[in-house]
């Protein structure tokens, strides 16, 4: 067996983030996006990718001016969908950021674990249209490798010769954090490095319309007032596309290869699922937060900031605020929702929030929540509103909740 050494739980390696790549509605490229995020610059706007004027919801966080062909080989672009374009571009950035050379890293010590929520929607709709307009012989061979949820992980693995354990997590918005948790398992099983995170793009007409029946998307048409998590005017959320890809490494392996200072450690992770609808029992989030903190061997008072899920619908917001107050106490910890600048990116959302949390730890600044005109005082949250907040940060918690009851929490810890 080459590379993957046996280890026991007692000597489980520390998993640290060493690279970040971002393709987000408010910025492509990690530093551009981070600067925009600190400046409160939003990527939410009227949908431009297709005609949404007849739909009751008309806004989205689209990654505009993104031409995959500028970043990726033409041969790769034709056989992949937009969700994979985002991931492949972000992976290149993240590996570059981590200064990793995959070609000189043993192949079986590198894994890939990404999250995906809804597959290659635009590619899928195009080929479905060809099938039903023309017939089965009009369907492209590439449909078989572009549409499915594993396309992104497979293409990253192939592009960089990463032949270790690979995986794909699907848990709607929670999946982006589940991927990080699974990546840590892969590191703990002996891998040196895992490319992880998530991206999504469900913004084709059919993909977008498929989201409408939940009734959870806002119908407000003013981009500055549409998505207001924890606000008295919370009316639903705005969907978005894009996400983040991160490099997670065994800390010892990273040191050995001379990597720079990691962004932070994946110190804790937990996942849980809400009780059946109608059970009358509280959602899983408070329990999941405690489990993740236990996993990190930290107490609630050790947490310096929470990147909340911030669903933007009154019921979900109330549930989340209650759980945060229960665990951290009322106004017990600064809470922020930078996804107010991007919309909910589904599998990309948790990963992008993790990227924001890591950069917050690096720069000792909490990015703001924007567009919430009046925070609901009943929630008892210390919402970081409008402006970034410079405070000492050592530990950040990221929350993601997926449609149906999926719940995931990560605890990120500054290293050194």
């Amino acid at each position: 067996m080459t590379g993957l050494a046996a280890r026991t739980a007692d000597t489980a390696p520390t998993a640290v983030f060493t690279g970040i790549g971002v393709t987000a509605p408010n910025g492509v490229g990690t530093e551009d996006w981070w600067a925009a995020t600190l400046a409160g610059k939003s990527g939410i706007d009227e949908i431009g990718g297709f005609d949404a004027r007849t739909y009751p919801s008309r806004l989205a966080g689209e990654v505009k001016d993104f031409d995959a062909a500028e970043h990726l080989p033409a041969r790769l672009v034709v056989e992949t969908s937009r969700m994979s374009h985002f991931a492949l571009v972000a992976t290149a950035m993240a590996l570059d950021d981590a200064a990793v050379d995959p070609a000189s890293t043993p192949e079986y010590t590198m894994g890939v674990v990404t999250a995906n929520a809804s597959g290659g929607a635009e590619f899928g709709q195009r080929e479905l249209q060809k099938l039903w307009r023309g017939g089965p012989r009009d369907v492209s061979p590439y449909m078989s490798i572009a549409w499915f949820y594993a396309a992104t992980t497979g293409q990253i693995s192939i592009r960089y010769g990463m032949r270790g354990p690979c995986g794909v997590a699907v848990a709607e918005q929670a999946g982006g954090l589940d991927a990080l948790g699974q990546a840590r398992r892969v590191v703990r099983s002996g891998a040196a490095l895992v490319v992880t995170g998530g991206t999504d793009s469900s913004l084709s007409p059919a993909g977008f319309v498929s989201q409408l029946p939940t009734g959870l998307l806002t119908t407000v048409t003013d981009p500055l007032r549409a998505y207001q998590p924890f606000g008295t005017e919370a009316s639903g959320y705005v969907p978005g596309e894009g996400g983040a890809i991160l490099v997670l490494e065994d800390a010892a392996a990273a040191r050995r290869r001379g990597a720079g200072r990691p962004y932070g450690e994946l110190a804790g992770y937990a996942a849980a699922f809400d009780p059946r609808p109608g059970s009358g029992r509280p959602p899983a989030l408070a329990r999941c937060l405690r489990t993740a903190l236990d996993d990190a061997r930290l107490r609630p008072e050790d947490v310096d900031v929470v990147f909340a899920d911030g669903h933007g619908t009154p019921g979900h917001d109330r549930e989340e605020a209650r759980a945060l107050a229960e665990v951290f106490g009322p106004h017990g910890v600064p809470v922020t929702v930078p996804k107010t600048m991007t919309g909910r990116l589904y599998a990309g959302g948790g990963a992008l929030d993790a990227a924001a949390a890591l950069l917050a730890l690096r720069d000792q600044v909490v990015p703001p929540t924007v567009h919430v005109t009046r925070p609901d005082p009943g929630h008892g949250l210390d919402l970081v509103l409008g402006q970034p907040r410079e405070i000492p940060l050592r530990t950040a918690v990221v929350v993601a909740r997926g449609h149906g009851g999926f719940t995931a929490v990560t605890v990120l810890r500054r290293t050194g």
Binding site: P56, G119, Q125, M143, A150, R185, P213, A271
Partner: protein
């Protein structure tokens, strides 16, 4: 690598030709193929017109009208298999800690059948790119996000621990069990309801496989359309179905006196990092996965009594995995029986790995090896013992099951009898 010792204490299977665990086992032992000319839609105009369809009536399996409407067929199959597994496992759900019960469901192509049906309506059979939202049905979002399948299983099982869909293409069914076993090994759950499901027999999926010419063209002989390891094989035949399991640490299963079908002792996945659909002839990454899984199980190639092959019946796959098994098992490869059940139940993509794991667990419990149906004339380059046509009664203490899929994923699972000791 952390040791893994996980007991399978409940099994539920919904497979073509075998709805229910016992019917499924009888079917795979019989070697009678459940492949037939497609009836779910008119396959005229398709290159491949054969599939292994399940005659599955969700109402007969206890689903209410609202559940039937809400769930795509993949979720219906998973829930029916979950019900059977839970009943079989003899768990008292009221005594479980819901927060310590996890759900891991493998699935490759989501709710494709439902999504395609609704797409046809929204777009008026493809006439509109800007689809008409007034035709969007309530369950449509559940079809878009296949996590809905894991949610349905979790509700069924009253599970409130970690829940997710594992979607690594055609190895999903193995990877879901492997990840479930990891959850137990690390102590994140007491019980996992795990398995996988897929219902891909719809025009778009059939057209996808047509386009890459991966499916069989024996349209005039549907029952012999899938011929793993046979000289005349022409490709895979799509199937559908689900297999779900109750998994728990072996020590816990013993404490509660549960019947243990088999234990999962090893799991590993590797990627070929080569091509989304192509396989390198030498099978080195699958061999690497097999070796890693055996290492974790602390078993030697000599311990393996049966290999459940991926055996999809495509020209490249059957040679690829023959090479991988030779590389990883050495001389043992030439002695150990190795069969594929896909000629009988088809290739149900994300589901098949769990369906095959069910066959492996039953092979261990009942001392029999299922045959490779439709294998009449072996490919000279496939020179192992593929158990052609007829099942064999024999003691089976340890089993290796392998899978290979789009994206380059290669996975291996090692199962053993309740009393099997490490090498």
């Amino acid at each position: 690598m952390r040791p893994m010792d996980v007991a399978i204490t409940g099994i539920g299977v919904m497979a073509p030709g075998g709805l229910g665990r016992e019917a499924f086992w009888d079917r795979v032992l019989s070697g009678r193929a459940a492949t037939r000319r497609v009836t779910f839609f008119d396959p005229a105009g398709f290159r491949c017109q054969v599939a292994a369809e399940a005659d599955f009536d969700p109402a007969a399996h206890g689903l209410t009208p609202q559940e039937v409407r809400r769930m795509d067929r993949a979720a219906q199959l998973a829930v029916a298999a979950t019900d059977e597994a839970l009943a079989d496992g003899g768990l008292d759900l009221s005594e479980l800690d819901p927060g310590r019960t996890a759900v891991t469901v493998g699935n490759a192509v989501g709710c494709t059948t439902g999504l395609e049906q609704e797409y046809r309506v929204l777009s008026d059979d493809g006439r509109q790119w800007s689809v008409d939202h007034t035709f969007a049905v309530p369950q449509l979002y559940g079809y878009l996000v296949p996590s809905s399948i894991a949610a349905e299983v979790a509700w069924r099982a009253g599970a409130e621990g970690p829940a997710s869909v594992v979607s690594s293409g055609c190895t999903s069914g193995i990877d879901a069990l492997g990840q479930a076993a990891e959850l137990l090994a690390e102590g994140s759950a007491d019980v996992v309801v795990a398995g996988s499901t897929d219902a891909p027999i719809s025009p778009i999926t059939m057209a996808c496989f047509d386009a890459i010419k991966a499916t069989s063209t024996y349209n005039d002989d549907p029952e012999h359309a899938c011929r793993p390891f046979d000289r005349g094989r022409r490709g895979l035949v799509l199937g559908e179905g689900a297999a779900m399991f109750v998994l728990e640490p072996t020590a816990r299963a013993r404490r509660r006196g549960a019947r243990i079908y088999a234990r999962i002792l090893g799991y590993a996945g590797r990627a070929n990092g080569f091509h989304m659909t192509g396989l390198r002839a030498d099978g080195r990454e699958m061999a690497e996965a097999i070796t890693a899984a055996l290492d974790q199980a602390r078993l030697n190639p000599q311990d393996i009594d049966y290999v459940n092959a991926h055996g999809s019946g495509t020209r490249q796959n059957d040679r690829h995995e023959t090479a991988a098994v030779k590389t990883s098992l050495g001389e043992r490869a030439h002695e150990v029986p190795m069969s594929s059940i896909k000629a009988v139940v088809g290739h149900s993509l994300g589901a098949i790995g769990s369906i095959e794991a069910a066959a492996c667990a039953l092979a261990i419990e009942r001392g029999a090896v299922p045959p490779t149906a439709n294998l009449r004339e072996r490919d000279p380059e496939c020179d192992l013992d593929y158990v052609p046509l007829t099942a064999r009664e024999q003691r089976v203490d340890a089993v290796l099951s392998v899978g290979s899929g789009f994206g380059g994923f290669q996975s291996a699972l090692v199962l053993a009898a309740p009393d099997k000791a490490a090498a």
